[in-house]
Structures are given as structure tokens and as C-alpha cells.
């Protein structure tokens, strides 16, 4: 009798083990296909549309510059400024996943190096050197891109008027706009699935012949690393440097007073990367992958991203003023972003390392 029980027990164990094994295999297959879907949508739903958006907005800005040069008045100047902020928003959001060609080919510093080399730029404009697009392309990265355009259209303290913009400024501005648009085109093409050597293929073929990513895990690690990097950069560099020095001239977008938007858009980029969403379209996301195995971690990350983004509403003035007059609010934002960064570097990285097998 006792033996029968034991036998039955063993049978049950074997049966359970058998079931379990099947489940595990199914789980692994399900996870593998989810991982693949996340990679496919990361490229298709987020990166490509985001880069296309930057390019489209850079074109609008370039056209606004041409219109202004034809009819230089304050209304047309305002149109460039609006277009600059729109392009900037799309660009700052893509910094949530700053890996691949944007780094490999220096598209990032070419468009967004900082600080501006104001001393050289003033000398260049005062000289009679040629300022064609080809000449601009040859310049160092601190003499072109977003911040050079920003300096001309906003001026120090944002006080620039259409009447202040000289003919040399206009020639320079036209070349800067065209040069920035050219770079956004290169950036877009670098991921475009219809172009040769596109990076989308590297991502979606990770672990299946991609030369850049020997495993799917490599892409996820690159993505999670980029998300942590931008949090670190916003909280500990972009916000901290002017705040610690109590000097608003050390602020990245100080001419346009656009820094708070820059910071918020960077963290929105982290949200987009985690939730795989852009322009109202969503896809299979890292969030989904995390939630399938660890609901509480997913909830925590989402809550921390939301908290970081909404904390910016505490800053009700320009960042140049906030570092003096809203220090508590600034610290709150930094703390919220640092909390998020710790989670991404810790639990989220661990999750990827443990759960993504290949």
C-alpha cells in the first residue's frame, strides 16, 4: 500500500515534470517571439518614424530660413524659432536610444555639439570667408548644428530681432539650415530598411546573422544602456552643471530658453523607448516583455518614468531662472530622474541579463 503511494507520488512527479518541461519550452518560444517582435517594432514603430520626423521638421525649419532670408521680418523670424523648437523636440526624444549610426558616424555631435564656440563663430561671421554649405560642412562641430542656428535666431538672452540679423548672418544661417537637414537625411537613411547597409537590418537580425549584435540580448543591453545614459546626462550633467555653478550661461539651450523642454523631451524619449511608441502609434515593447515576467517591476518603471516627466511641471520659469529661484523644484526633478536611472541600471539591466537568453 505504502509502495503504491510512493509509486503514485513518483508518477505524479514525473507527470508534473513532464508538463513543466513542455510549458518551459512553450514559454521560451513565446519569449523568443516576443523579443523578436519587440526588436522589429523598436525599429519599425519607434526609430524609423522618429528619424523621419526629425528630417521632416528640419526641412520645415530650412524652408522657414529661406522664407526669412527672402522677407526678413519678425514674423518670419518667429516661424524659424517655432520650427527650431519643433525639430529640437523630435531630436531630443530620439536621444532616449542614442546608439547605432547616430553615434558611429557622429551625427549627434555634428548636429548637437555643445558648447557653441562663440569666440570663433563671431570671428568667422566678422571675416569675409566663404559660408557656403560645403564650407559649413568642413567646420568643427562647435560652429554648426542646432546651437549655432539657435545663437543666430535667438541671440544672447533671446533678444534677437530681425533687424539685428546681418547679411553675413543670413548666408551663414541658410547654410546651417541646409547642413542640418543634410545630416538628418543621412541619419534617417542609416536606418531606412530600403537602403543598403541599413541599421534596421542589424537590429531585427540580431542573433541571426547581424554583424553588430551577435545576440538579441546585445540590442536590449544597448537600448537599456542608452536609456540609463540619457537619464544620467540630464540629471547629472545638463541640469547639474549650471545649477552647481549657479551660472545660467552654462545652460545648454540658454539662447532660446528651451532647456526645460529639452530635458523633458529626453525623458519622453526614455518613455518612448520603453513603451515603443511614437506619433500615436505603439508596438510590442520592452515594457510588455518585462510585464510578462515581472509585473511589479514593469509598473515601477512606468511609474518612475511618469513621475520624472511630470516633475518638470514644478519648474514654472525658464531653466536659466529656475537654477536661482526654483532650486527645490530643480532638485525634485533631478531626484526623480536619478531614481529612474538607478532602476534602469539596476533592476531593468538585471532583468535583461537574466531573462533574455540569446
Amino acid at each position: 500500500m505504502k509502495n503504491i503511494f510512493i509509486a503514485a507520488f513518483f508518477l505524479a512527479v514525473i507527470a508534473m515534470a513532464g508538463c513543466k518541461k513542455d510549458n518551459t519550452t512553450n514559454d521560451q518560444n513565446a519569449t523568443a517571439s516576443t523579443e523578436q517582435n519587440v526588436l522589429t517594432d523598436f525599429a519599425g514603430v519607434l526609430v524609423n518614424p522618429n528619424y523621419q520626423d526629425i528630417q521632416a521638421k528640419a526641412l520645415i525649419m530650412n524652408n522657414a530660413i529661406i522664407a526669412f532670408n527672402t522677407a526678413p521680418n519678425d514674423v518670419n523670424l518667429e516661424a524659424i524659432r517655432t520650427a527650431w523648437k519643433d525639430t529640437r523636440a523630435a531630436w531630443e526624444q530620439c536621444e532616449g536610444f542614442l546608439f547605432g549610426p547616430v553615434e558611429d558616424f557622429d551625427y549627434d555631435p555634428t548636429m548637437d555639439d555643445w558648447p557653441l564656440n562663440k569666440a570663433d563663430l563671431d570671428n568667422l561671421i566678422a571675416s569675409d570667408n566663404p559660408l557656403g554649405v560645403a564650407d559649413i560642412e568642413q567646420l568643427g562641430t562647435t560652429l554648426k548644428g542646432f546651437h549655432a542656428i539657435e545663437y543666430i535666431i535667438f541671440g544672447v538672452g533671446g533678444t534677437q530681432k530681425a533687424a539685428d540679423i546681418t547679411d553675413r548672418d543670413k548666408v551663414y544661417l541658410a547654410s546651417l539650415g541646409q547642413s542640418l537637414y543634410n545630416t538628418t537625411t543621412e541619419l534617417r537613411n542609416s536606418w531606412d530598411p530600403t537602403q543598403s547597409n541599413n541599421f534596421t537590418a542589424q537590429v531585427i537580425n540580431a542573433g541571426k546573422g547581424s554583424t553588430r549584435f551577435t545576440t538579441r540580448k546585445d540590442v536590449f543591453l544597448a537600448l537599456v544602456g542608452s536609456m540609463a545614459d540619457i537619464c544620467n546626462e540630464v540629471a547629472n550633467e545638463k541640469m547639474q552643471t549650471p545649477f552647481a555653478a549657479q551660472d545660467s550661461t552654462l545652460d545648454e539651450s540658454s539662447f532660446s530658453h528651451n532647456s526645460v523642454n529639452d530635458f523633458r523631451n529626453n525623458i519622453t524619449g526614455v518613455l518612448n523607448a520603453y513603451k515603443c511608441q511614437y506619433g500615436g502609434v505603439t508596438g510590442h515593447s520592452l515594457s510588455e516583455l518585462v510585464a510578462s515576467k515581472n509585473t511589479s517591476l514593469d509598473s515601477r518603471i512606468q511609474a518612475q518614468i511618469s513621475a520624472a516627466i511630470s516633475s518638470f511641471s514644478g519648474i514654472t520659469t525658464t531653466y536659466e531662472k529656475a537654477i536661482y529661484s526654483q532650486q527645490t523644484q530643480v532638485k525634485n526633478v533631478q531626484a526623480a530622474i536619478r531614481t529612474l536611472k538607478e532602476t534602469i541600471e539596476g533592476d531593468l539591466s538585471d532583468f535583461v541579463n537574466v531573462n533574455i537568453k540569446d
Binding site: 546608439f99 553615434e103 562663440k118 569666440a119 571675416s127 568643427g140 544597448a222
Partner: protein, 457 residues
């Protein structure tokens, strides 16, 4: 009570036995092969693998490392400027990162925003410290960029000639020989001058290499080939600007730099035109391009030290595939070819109680930090202290397998002439001739095994 006595006696006995044991290093097989740098190893095989701090840093040390990292990646601009001021007036590039992409090896081009090549220049002969002689109006390095309105010293031109070769089994490889010339000189140079290219090297494990005792490095030197194995190895003794004395050179492609802090200060001064307390004189001093600003030193000591600490605390990526049979076979062949005589697998760092991460660590840099004659093919024919015109420092091979990932597509050797590891091997000559010939005559399977081993580093 009795029990206590026995226990006490046993404890004493054990203590006595332990005391009697001679201190010795564990045998090799008791180490984890993956740990290239002891506790300073990081398990990361992504494109960011060269940028990881020591995993064991304290919170404060992490903060300093982070500060250094920020400086390393920031772009400097022409003075006067509210932030990151002091670039130039003569320079090669505008940030550390623009040469050391991803803390790895650079791009072998000159004059572009992403170029990582620079040219050393000197006159024949030696100066009062036994080092290269500065060229009047140029110094010891050609700065090929300048602030707006200033003239760069020269333009560096680089062309290649290509030559195909094949192994015994017919597999082809192609070597490109670079030809460097200067044009657009801002002022003429009288007489002949010596040029030597330098590519930005990877940043990993520098703090550990600095911590290897001088006696260990010197012990491996064999300047007169006393043991008759055809391999010499010379310790380069160089003038060190920080200590104002002759020191053992460890860093740089010819081991012409004694310490990390000197390396960092020199890079700031020569490559970026940023002065510090160690090198407070602009690289353009006395030249037409000098900015005449009385703003030196431009870099605060804290900034210089943060970058020094950053470079000192970059870890080394762990090896991959160490248990793979082919990798093990490749490692055996590497040793049989005597590659390991110079590319020495194991060094041990000195005891440093103040800094446990680099104290008494068994590390595997695959280098002896000595300079060796590599033959006429690779020669720059420009002596640098005790390194003659055909000598180069044994390049550490740790991290080698990740160059392609970190610096897509990856380049090798002092000037990046080699585009693959195979090409780099086939450029070896001089003291390494026998090892190269050994490799070249291996079967395709064995050659691939050697490569697989090198890729595991």
C-alpha cells in the same frame, strides 16, 4: 576545559602551519580564465565595454570617475567662453572622445572631426634628456587644426599602397602601407625632419599597467639576448615632466610616457591646446599662432585629476568562450609560436592597501610593456628615448576581440594600417619574425584557431 585546550592547541597548530607556509601565487589553473584584470574585470561585451568603471569603486570614487568621464566626453571651445574654455589655438581635436571613440582605438585619418591620428615630429639626434629633438616652430607634435583665424602648423596627407599576399593554402590577405607627408607648412622647416604617426589607443586597464612593479617589467628585459631566443626587449627610460626625472616608460606606442597623469596632461596640452599645472605652456608658445592670453593654466587641477582618475579606473572586459576547445587550441598555438614571449599573458600588480582594486591583482594584459625591434616594415625610423627607429612597445592584447564592436570596423597597430587581426599579425617582423612565420605556415584550421583565441580576449 579539556575540550577548550585541545581546540586551542589545534588552532595554534593550524596557525603555525599557515605561518610556515611560504607565500606563493596560486597555480594558473585555479584562476578564472575570464578575469583579464582580476577584480577590475567587467562582464560586458557590448560596444560600451571599454567605458566601464571598476566594479568595486566606492561611491565617492565613482563620483570622481564620473566627473572624469564627463570631461573626457565634453567638447572644448576657444577662449574666452563661459564653459569648457581654452581650446587651442593649435590642436588636433576638440575633445578626448573625438579621438578615443567609445574609449577604444581611433580612426586612422587625419584632419577630420573624427580623426584619431596625429604626427610626432623631431629633428635627428637627442636632446639633453636623451629624447627626441623638438623642431623649431613645431615642437614635437604637428597640430593640424587651429582656432578660427589661426593657421594650423601643417596638413597631414595620408595615402596607401596595397599589396596582396597569400598563405600556403592559397587564402589571400592584403597589406596596405601608409605614406605620410606634410603640406601647407605654416613656416618652413630647415633640413630633414622625422615624422611618426600615432593612433589613439584603447583606454582600458591603464591603472593596472601603471601598478605593475618596475622590477617585474625590467626583469623580463633582455637587451643583449642573453638567453639566445632571438627576442630582446628593452625597458624604455624616459624624461617625465610630472616628476622632472627619468622614469620607466609604460604608455604610448613607444612606451615614451611614464605615468597616466603625464599622459593625460600631455594629451590635453599637445592634442587640444589646454594648459595645466604640469604643462603650463601652450603648445603654440613662441609661434605666430600663440593666443597671447594670460590664462594659463587653463585646466583646474581638479579637472586634470578627474580625467587621470577616470583613465586609471577604466576596467577591462572579461574574456569570452574561454572553455571552447578551439580557443584553447588557439591559445596553445599562440604559445608555441612564442607570441607569448612578448605578449606576456600574466603580470601581477604591486600591493597597494590604499587602492584594493589595483592591489596585488593577477592580470592578463598579454604584454611585457617593453619595446622590441619589429623590423623595417613597421618602422617609423624615429627614435624615442631608448626605443629606436624600428622599436615599438608590445601592445596589450586584452580587449582585442571587441575592437570591431567598440570601434566598428576596428583598426590595429600604431597607425591603424591593419584592418584585421590577420593583417596585424602579418605586419610583425624583426624580433617577431619567427612567430609570424610560424603562424603563416599553419593550416587554415589552426590559423583560425589562433584567431578565435585572439577574439576571445
Amino acid at each position: 576545559m579539556k575540550k577548550f585546550k585541545i581546540t586551542g592547541f589545534l588552532a595554534l597548530l593550524v596557525l603555525f602551519l599557515v605561518e610556515c607556509q611560504k607565500s606563493a601565487v596560486f597555480p594558473e589553473d585555479q584562476y578564472d580564465e575570464r578575469l583579464s584584470a582580476g577584480v577590475a574585470t567587467v562582464f560586458d561585451a557590448t560596444s560600451k565595454a571599454f567605458g566601464a568603471a571598476f566594479p568595486t569603486l566606492s561611491t565617492y570614487d565613482e563620483y570622481v570617475h564620473e566627473k572624469g568621464d564627463q570631461v573626457f566626453s565634453q567638447t572644448f571651445v576657444t577662449a574666452p567662453a563661459p564653459i569648457h574654455s581654452g581650446l587651442g589655438p593649435l590642436f588636433n581635436n576638440t575633445s578626448c572622445e573625438s579621438c578615443h571613440h567609445n574609449d577604444g582605438i581611433g580612426l586612422p585619418t587625419a584632419g577630420d572631426n573624427r580623426s584619431s591620428l596625429l604626427m610626432r615630429i623631431s629633428l635627428p639626434g637627442t636632446d639633453e634628456h636623451g629624447g627626441p629633438v623638438a623642431v623649431p616652430g613645431y615642437g614635437l607634435q604637428v597640430q593640424d587644426k587651429a582656432a578660427y583665424g589661426k593657421q594650423p602648423e601643417a596638413k597631414v596627407n595620408l595615402t596607401y599602397t596595397y599589396q596582396s599576399y597569400s598563405f600556403d593554402d592559397g587564402e589571400e590577405y592584403n597589406l596596405r602601407t601608409p605614406i605620410y607627408t606634410l603640406s601647407n607648412l605654416y613656416t618652413p622647416i630647415s633640413g630633414s625632419y622625422l615624422l611618426s604617426p600615432r593612433l589613439a589607443p584603447p583606454m582600458i586597464g591603464l591603472g593596472l599597467l601603471e601598478a605593475v612593479p618596475e622590477s617585474v617589467i625590467v626583469a623580463y628585459a633582455d637587451p643583449n639576448d642573453a638567453n639566445g631566443d632571438g627576442i630582446k626587449g628593452v625597458a624604455n627610460y624616459v624624461w617625465d615632466v610630472t616628476t622632472k626625472s627619468i622614469q620607466l616608460g609604460r604608455f604610448g606606442w613607444k612606451a615614451n610616457t611614464a605615468s597616466i597623469v603625464t599622459q593625460v596632461a600631455t594629451a590635453f596640452n599637445q592634442d587640444m591646446g589646454l594648459t595645466s599645472t604640469i604643462l603650463p605652456v601652450e603648445n603654440s608658445y613662441g609661434q605666430a599662432q600663440d593666443d597671447g592670453l594670460k590664462d594659463d593654466p587653463e585646466l583646474p587641477d581638479s579637472t586634470l585629476n578627474a580625467v587621470k582618475f577616470y583613465a586609471q579606473t577604466l576596467s577591462v572586459p572579461a574574456r569570452r568562450n574561454v572553455t571552447d576547445a578551439t580557443v584553447k587550441r588557439g591559445q596553445q598555438l599562440f604559445m608555441l609560436a612564442k607570441c607569448g614571449t612578448c605578449h606576456r599573458k600574466t603580470l601581477i600588480t604591486r600591493v597597494n592597501v590604499a587602492f584594493p582594486a589595483i592591489s596585488n591583482q593577477v592580470i592578463h594584459p598579454y604584454s611585457d610593456l617593453l619595446v622590441h625591434n619589429m623590423g623595417p616594415g613597421l618602422a617609423d625610423n624615429r627614435p624615442d628615448f631608448k626605443a629606436d627607429g624600428q622599436s615599438w612597445r608590445t601592445a596589450p592584447l586584452w580587449g582585442l576581440g571587441l575592437y570591431e564592436k567598440v570601434n566598428n570596423p576596428g583598426y590595429y597597430l600604431h597607425d591603424g594600417r591593419a584592418r584585421t587581426i590577420v593583417e596585424a599579425i602579418m605586419w610583425h617582423g624583426g624580433e617577431a619574425e619567427q612567430s609570424k612565420v610560424y603562424y603563416a605556415h599553419l593550416s587554415k584550421t589552426d590559423r583560425d584557431a589562433v584567431l578565435k583565441f585572439l577574439y576571445s580576449l
